[in-house]
């Protein structure tokens, strides 16, 4: 990439002419958490959108977010290319290597790739380049720029019939000033945004060519795996490598910070060597099992916690209520179980380190490697491969540590792949949670008071409140005049972390189930009681109406079936879902799911539909099967035989209904996960009278046959 030449204005930077002629432009995109640097501030300007126009008409757009199936490598360039009026068939995508600052924050989490500030600056970057190309064309044609227009990679002057391609104009454009306020398209003029062009990686994904982490091949590379302490917080006491070293193909056995690594000529030899290791563990202090953990959470929820939300006076409201309801709910630990197990390829040399990794966190990878090797950050190159799912697991860098340390110890490039068992038993799990709820209905059957106490481990640094633990409860969109939400922090030895949609994935199950309990207690329709509390949220009220209408809510379901409804406002997405269920062989069978979603303006409807439907599968899998149990400090389930996934034959018919919206883009990758579990359990209640207060769903089969 060419050298930075000059700063034209606060938000844009032209990187000047590049080898072979052409235009390289950088623009600043504030990340979702921070604003752009203040005008006149002394902090150096850093662009983080990069696009390049070459003389052969190729437009290259760098994508600094990680591709894990959510389509960022298609959707983000579409935004730039639309404003640029580029010829989409000439757009090339480059995956950005990690850089501490060049691209801003590269972490791909929280459904933030489009929303949260990137949308406008991506447009502005495209628009600025387009304005410069138009100015260059006007100069060449001897006309005013205002007389020109652009179309698919060309500037045209209709009056004279002259035109030039962007490639022909790139060099001249590179000599011009970057416009301070490039005109943005009126949305009615979008050619790409709102359409569904083929995803840029599909061809590679159906030919086996798409490069995932363990597909990387580096000359001289060895293959490795690692064995971690079975008990959380445990350590290696001592080990005997002699049997492992006798396994054909095994070259080295080395201790690393998190366990013992086996290095071999092939992955299989490394796996066999790992099984042959004789390791004595120091198990450490944590020895709890699942029943004790839930007992501890329940005990914590008996005492007041830190206040996360207070409206009115919940205890007075409850005292005045004509009908009161109490319940406790539980949600289990969940593993991410990404299809691609954790892996990382590292080549540590004396003066540099190169890493290939499927990561949601390229910058964390880079700083982790710098810390472990003692190399400066600039000496660490991190290439981001395709990710075989992320779901938040790949925001961590523990597997990077294993690979970097192993490469350092054996003095060779190493590809370290965790077995599925290591992956599932050394995850950062979605936290288990215990909720105590008390709700009060007034004489009119309205929810007048609600008290929720949430006990769970914290996953953020927030104190005294862990934001994720109370998300979608403390910030419930429902108008409840007397509301108290408290957080009781649990300190347990189980590693916990961010799991697709995070806190709302368990909290929505609980809150939306309890709202359903209150609706039934009041003898009211579950849609109606929700609608009444959404007076201040017309967009959410609209998706509720849409889901109700499209699902046939209010009309009789087929014999032996019933419907349930739930909704959420999560990460800028507003989603309501209706599930239609029956019972077969004592198990819930989900037949239809109606998803109504308002995610603001849609970049690529095909991606959005796939994300919303995929989110239903994610949430439904967890609701039906998902639980990691703990036994004496160890995760019990180690593979898909014990941690079941939804399979083809269990798929419900999913109808996705997307609200056409001109609002700012919202999140799409996560918000449809939370409502499915309560939609299903609320439907099961309607069908059987059984209230499911713990996930995964277990029906009392003795009662299942008795419809209400």
């Amino acid at each position: 990439m060419g050298a930075i030449t000059k700063l034209d204005r606060r938000d844009f930077l032209k990187l000047g002419a590049i080898a072979g002629g052409g235009l390289l432009l950088g623009a600043y995109v504030p990340d979702s958490r921070g604003a752009a640097p203040e005008a006149g501030s002394s902090s150096p300007f850093q662009p983080n959108v990069f696009l390049r126009i070459d003389t052969d008409d190729t437009v290259t757009i760098w994508v600094a977010r990680s591709e894990m199936g959510q389509g960022v490598r298609t959707a983000l360039p579409m935004i730039v290319a639309d404003e640029l009026d580029a010829d989409w068939s000439r757009v090339r995508i480059e995956q950005a290597d990690a850089h501490p600052s060049k691209y801003g924050r590269m972490m791909t989490v929280g459904s933030t790739s489009v929303r949260g500030g990137a949308w406008m600056p991506l447009r502005q970057a495209g628009a600025a380049a387009r304005a410069m190309l138009m100015a260059a064309a006007a100069a060449r044609f001897g006309v005013r720029a205002g007389e020109c227009r652009t179309e698919r990679g060309r500037v045209l002057h209709d009056a004279s019939g002259r035109s030039a391609t962007y490639g022909e104009l790139a060099e001249a454009a590179a000599a011009l000033r970057v416009p301070a306020r490039p005109p943005l398209k009126d949305p009615s003029a979008f050619r790409l945004i709102g359409t569904s062009p083929p995803l840029v990686d599909t061809r590679d994904k159906v030919t086996g060519r798409a490069l995932f982490g363990a597909d990387v091949r580096v000359p001289g590379m060895l293959f490795a795996t690692v064995v971690h302490p079975p008990v959380f917080g445990g350590r290696v006491a001592s080990f005997d490598a002699s049997r492992a070293l006798r396994v054909s193909g095994v070259r080295h056995v080395v201790e690393v910070s998190q366990g013992v690594a086996v290095v071999a000529d092939g992955t299989w030899a490394a796996f066999r060597g790992a099984r042959a290791l004789d390791i004595r563990w120091n198990d450490g202090a944590f020895a709890m099992s699942t029943p004790e953990i839930f007992g501890e959470l329940a005990r914590l929820a008996e005492r007041p916690g830190a206040e996360a939300r207070r409206e009115g006076d919940a205890s007075a409201g409850l005292a005045r209520a004509t009908r009161r309801l109490q319940a406790t709910y539980e949600a289990p630990y969940l593993a991410h179980a990404t299809m691609e197990p954790m892996n990382c390829t590292a080549d540590v040399r004396a003066d540099r380190c190169e890493i290939w990794v499927p990561t949601q966190n390229p910058q964390g990878t880079q700083s982790t490697a710098a810390r472990l090797t003692g190399l400066p950050v600039e000496a660490v190159t991190v290439h981001v491969t395709h990710l075989g799912c992320g779901w938040g697991r790949r925001s961590r860098t523990d597997f990077v540590e294993d690979a970097v340390e192993t490469s350092m110890k054996v003095g060779a490039p190493v590809q370290l792949v965790w077995t599925r068992e290591e992956d599932m038993q050394h995850d950062f799990y979605r936290p288990a949670a215990h909720h105590r709820l008390e709700g009060g209905l007034d004489a009119d059957g309205r929810l007048s008071a609600l008290h929720v106490r949430i006990a769970a481990q914290a996953i953020s640094g927030g104190r005294p409140i862990d934001g994720p633990a109370v998300a979608s409860v403390a910030d419930t969109p429902y108008a409840i005049p007397n509301l108290l939400v408290e957080y009781c922090r649990a300190e347990l030895g189980v590693p916990v972390g961010y799991w697709r949609s995070v806190g709302p994935s368990q909290n929505t199950f609980i809150l939306e189930s309890f709202i359903d309990e209150l609706a039934h207690a009041a003898g009211r329709d579950p849609v109606e009681i929700r609608r009444e509390m959404l007076g201040g949220h017309p967009r959410l009220a609209h998706v509720l109406e849409l889901a109700a209408r499209e699902s046939g809510w209010g009309t009789p379901a087929a014999a032996g079936r019933a419907r349930g409804v739930a909704l959420v406002e999560d990460k800028g997405g507003l989603v309501a879902e209706v599930a239609e269920v029956s019972i077969a062989d004592g198990r819930p069978r989900v037949h239809r799911v109606t998803v109504a979603a308002d995610c603001g303006r849609i970049i690529h409807p095909g991606i959005v539909e796939a994300q919303l439907a995929g989110s239903v599968v994610a949430g439904l899998t967890a609701a039906l099967y998902g639980e990691i149990t703990i036994e004496r400090g160890r995760a019990v389930q180690g593979n898909f035989d014990g941690y079941r996934m939804l399979r083809m034959g269990e798929m419900p018919q999913i109808g996705v209904h997307i609200v056409q919206s001109a609002e700012e883009p919202g999140g799409v990758g996560e918000p449809a996960v939370p409502p499915i579990a309560p939609a299903v359990t609320n439907a099961l209640f309607a069908l059987t009278g059984q209230r499911i207060r713990r996930l995964p769903i277990v029906l009392d089969t003795g009662r299942a046959a008795t419809p209400m």
Binding site: F223, E340, L387, G388, W391, G614, V617, M648, M651
Partner: protein, 152 residues
């Protein structure tokens, strides 16, 4: 170790590995055919599905010595240029999300379609039951299989 001759995607390879090495790792680490993926190692997820003598098998649990003279086909052997009917249908239906499981999905679907040119939904459920997709692309996989049946 005795050398083993393995026929993969129409080519014969002399390989020198432990005979109990699963076919998956010979394909990936010895022959460099990385389109076939490791997902579970116990034949529960289907990411490693390849064809042996035209049948879909889980290569993570099949010792290479058990392959014998049978022809092995991997995703790379469907076609290098995405012209196989299932690849074309996968593109037309925009099936993949993250893509990691899709090599296995394609191989299971191709094996199904080679023995049953017009599978019912129940046939598809049965043939694809061993292939997990964490992204939840099942509906589009089903549509793509039907598309192959329709368009060939």
């Amino acid at each position: 170790m005795p050398a083993i001759t393995l026929r993969v995607n129409g080519r014969a390879h002399e390989i020198d590995v432990e005979p109990d090495t699963p076919l998956l790792w010979v394909l990936r680490d010895t022959l460099g055919l990385t389109g076939t993926k490791y997902g579970c190692g116990i034949a529960t997820c289907g990411s490693c599905t390849v064809h042996v003598a035209g049948r879909a098998v889980r290569s993570c649990t099949m010792p290479v010595s058990a392959v014998g003279i049978a022809a092995v086909t991997t995703v790379e052997g469907l076609s290098p240029d995405a012209t196989h009917a299932v690849q074309k249908a996968w593109i037309a239906e925009e099936v993949p999300q993250c893509g990691y499981c899709q090599s296995g999905q394609l191989m299971s679907a191709a094996a199904l379609l080679s023995s049953n040119a017009s599978p019912s939904d129940a046939d598809i459920d049965r043939a694809m039951a061993g292939n997990i997709c964490r992204c939840g692309t099942y509906d589009r996989i089903r549509r793509a299989v039907h598309r192959v049946a329709r368009e060939g």
